[in-house]
Amino acid sequence: MDLRYSDEDIAFRARAREWLKDNVPQERRPASGKAASQFDRDWQGKLFENGWAGVAWPKEYGGLGLSGLQQVIWYEELSRAHAPAQHISTAYVAQMHAGPTVMARGTEEQRAFHLPRILSGKSLWCQGFSEPNAGSDLAALKTKGTVDGDTIIVNGAKMWTTDAAHADFMELLIRTDPDSQRHKGLTWLICDMTTPGIDIKPIRTMLQDDHVNMVFFDDVRIPLANVVGEVGGGWSTALATLSFERGLGFIADQLELFERVGRAIELAGTVRLDDGRLAIEHDDIAQRLASIKADTMAIRAMTLAEITETDRTGEPGPKGSMMKLMVTTTHKALSQLVGEFLGWGFMEFDGDRATNPWTHDYLWSWVFSIAGGTNEIQREITADRVLELPKAR
């Protein structure tokens, strides 16, 4: 075992830190709407133009072709530099799992078209997996696809689709074999969101925003050439997407959490409670902060262990679900604790993360522990794949 960074790693970190110091946007990210997605496109475009996009993506698709460890270093420096948060970015799906899925399972044409657009911020993506009656039980999905010549005609509805209104493309999982059950007969499609027949209805959330949507499909014709993987083999492609989402997708958040604990400890050193003492002077608050700090240190160690293992083997291990559980529970514990000592300021909220990040992220903690597979589903996956317990389902 070793913790040493190579000379290239150290030089890369120094270069990243230096560049970010002068280039992190000073203006606030707009809270919502097209202005927010344009901000995200511009920031991603700036990263791309300056050679910082797709750190661990192959060079042939516009990435930097560096290691997973250097990707980790990049995310650490982003958090440290107060760069725009990854988890609320409308570029998140494209960067974290749509791009990686197309790279792993797409055709050469699909890769050549989509990957550079994703990296440069020209394409934003959304995820069309869940449905009104298929969320945790994803394989129950019913949205129907009928092959007609060289197109697939799609009818049905998708649910909880984050940023559907801003996205250029969707990861669309449908049932192309009407007689099929469960995991068989599914197909993973790239859906152009400008195709006629798509109707988007926003769902207002407890965060006072409209970032999630229902998406209706009425005879939407999608070229067969947009299938990623095989027609009828969509479950396998979807599992790849989910493994990126649960593994890779949280790396930025894992490392950001480490920074946020430090900020919470600083904050507790400035807030006075009713008894006139600083929050940090209360033993229970200090202990809980330190305990959460220890958890984030472990999360960082787990991340480095997983990434450096993957750098050697090329395959992510089965621990992504454990990682997601650890991150989301720690995130929630930190948000709750800050909520307790922050005083009345915590109760002021206008829906804008820029105004009150602690309240926003407290509300977000439920998005975190539900989206991408609920914590209960992650425990099921851990029980099945890591512990190999008898099946519950």
Binding site: M1, L3, I265, K319
Partner: protein, 323 residues
Amino acid sequence: MFLAPEGDEAEIADAAAAFLSDALPIERLHAPDCADMDASLRALLGEMGWFALALPEARGGSGLTAVEHALFFREVGRQCGPIDILAQALAANLCSSAERREALVAGAKGVAMLVADGDCWRLLGSHEAELGLLVTPEDASLYSLADAACEDRAALDPANSLRVVSALPDPLESREGEQLWQLGQLGAAAMLVGIGEAALDLIVDYAKVRETFGRPIGAYQAVRHACADMAIRTEAARAQLWYASTALKESRGDASAHIDAAKHLANEAAMGSADANIQLHGGIGVTDEHDAHLLLKHALLLTRIFGSKRGLLSRLLHARLED
């Protein structure tokens, strides 16, 4: 950068696991008397070189590092090995007298662990031990127990005898600095990780075969989810243990903060797993014949030495960390 046992590290861990499951299997603790390390077991461990893993070659050791030290003590923990083993390894590291050091490395003389308790000390370990080791974050001292005033107490943890010492002579030798404290923290944290893993293994195996209402209990989410939580806390503690022991091996400036975090996470993971393991076993989990209570009791002892919750967390709160 790599954070999993590999190559020689993995071989040493495997060899330790095989040796310890044969030489001091956890089942030994079901015998009526306290199962401290006796002279023959001590000599056997010495013969195999287990007390000298992290001792430099120039001083008669294997010249290995904090990483192999942690890998070995994790296996000791899985068998609820006595604290004597850690005391002996640390004392061998402390000794400047070559003669005494050789005797400790060979297991010819035994060492028990001293822990401050108000005006007195607690002594953990075998009655056959001639020496007592007291380690603090600032220094470490080795005492002769020949004339020490010791009083036996009934021990909750059957893996170690428990005595109260009211007076100690001047130390035979002392060393300033945090090095032995850190090795002790890693050893105790590693044993706790081993206990957490052993508890998880016990319940996972049982959940596959024990049936209620016509199904294995491992098919019920109430059991599966508790097991998943045990697995996650154990994984977190293990990852931080590897990070911390490697940080000490590489003499990083933030090693002590990472070791404190490792000890804290190991305390919590072991106690959590030991608790859930008893609960999920149901009635059989509280019986004397089962191993579940042995893991709990040894974990209780280990969480009290080399840093417990309050001290570790107060040191950790403002600790600065490197990249």
